[in-house]
Symmetry: C2
């Protein structure tokens, strides 16, 4: 089934590098953009907006990057502790574990006869048995040890790359509201393109997806602007 | 297996409300804290830090909340489009789909004989067959339709709740560096407590987890402070 195979591979890829880039860039484009927009409504110098924007990018990329790293680490620790327990249980309470395997086959709608044969054959190899319990009882896939480190790097870098875009105009223009106009145009275009690409990967309508991502960015920026204006005045 | 059952239920819960709160609060505590810390090294008035902080909380909570909503929506759309395709394939290319079911049982280590009986019995009921393909070939669980909306609300609100904590001292103290000291103490305590709780839920060592979360927050704040100082001078 080549069609499905492609789909699965895309799904796998998107669970790895692409998901990381999508996560990092989506927040990187949106949050520094909205923060800069908010400050544009409240301060008179773009210098301060650049400082706040870069501080936010540093904070956000570290929080998300290290957050991604820890999430990956935690996944590995969790998997290993569950793996150890399943190994123990297969040794100490094999009848209970066998009953769980049987239940799995019963839920698939197999006859009593086939259930018992399947359990008999499957539980001969303890490694396969444990793998089965991990995957189909607990729903845990073996995580890639390199994944945690790569994930941190990809998310953090994507956040920085995304975050620089809305800040760029503030580097060159002195009037905050003037810079905001250009920042809004380029950021919303990027969000649209990004949303389009993201939707293509996940297999949903790309135009609808692009519009949704763009609207989120615009709403976040609008609210930040409104709140900053309110406090300032 | 009560032990496992509890574990599964915790896992399920933590994939729902708790995961949302953990995601929202973890970023809510970290990023506004680091942004305020960064600005404390560069500006002379806490009023400006409060404005930037609240703008960031608005931006971040909307970006994350709506982001969570869209992620949930996308998951549902993706599931439904795959479900439709599996239904079609079961009708149009049943032999290929049967071969895939057989491969699944072969990978479990069942004998040729039991594989064929299992395929025969399983594919009698087309609904069960499609469910099987969704779950075990594509690894997709049926998403809860209410989940997308609730997820948005939980993540957004948790971000706001987390973000207010590090900002509080800046409301009451005029000197940025003075406010930063108090903000750092209360935020790092909260991050520690939060990291402890989060680790307990996911089943990893709570002290190690608490330390890791706290260190991320401190590093993010330190970097933001350093960058803001550098640009300012």
């Amino acid at each position: 089934m080549q069609h499905d195979q492609q789909h699965k591979e895309l799904h796998l890829q998107s669970s790895d590098i692409l998901t990381d880039i999508v996560i990092g860039m989506s927040d990187g484009l949106t949050v520094p953009f909205a923060l800069a927009a908010g400050l544009s409504g409240a301060v008179s110098s773009t210098h301060l907006i650049v400082i706040a924007g870069l501080a936010e990018i540093a904070a956000g990329s570290i929080a998300m990057g290290l957050g991604g790293y820890l999430a990956g680490k935690t996944e590995i620790d969790h998997y290993n502790s569950e793996l150890k327990r399943e190994h123990d249980e297969v040794e100490t309470v094999p009848h209970k574990e066998k009953a769980e395997v049987k239940e799995f086959f019963a839920n698939l709608g197999l006859s009593e006869d086939v259930q018992e044969q399947a359990v008999e054959e499957m539980t001969k190899d303890k490694e396969k048995w444990v793998d089965f319990m991990m995957k189909y009882e607990l729903g845990l896939d073996k995580p890639d040890p390199k994944r945690a480190r790569n994930s941190a790097f990809n998310i953090g870098l994507s956040y920085v790359a995304g975050g620089i875009v809305p800040l760029l105009p503030y580097f060159f223009i002195d009037t905050p509201l003037q810079a905001l106009k250009i920042s809004a145009v380029i950021t919303l275009i990027c969000l649209f393109a990004f949303g389009f690409f993201k939707s293509k990967i996940t297999g949903v309508n790309p135009w609808g997806g692009a519009l949704r991502v763009t609207v989120i960015g615009a709403i976040a920026a609008g609210c930040a602007f409104g709140i900053a204006r309110l406090i300032q005045s």
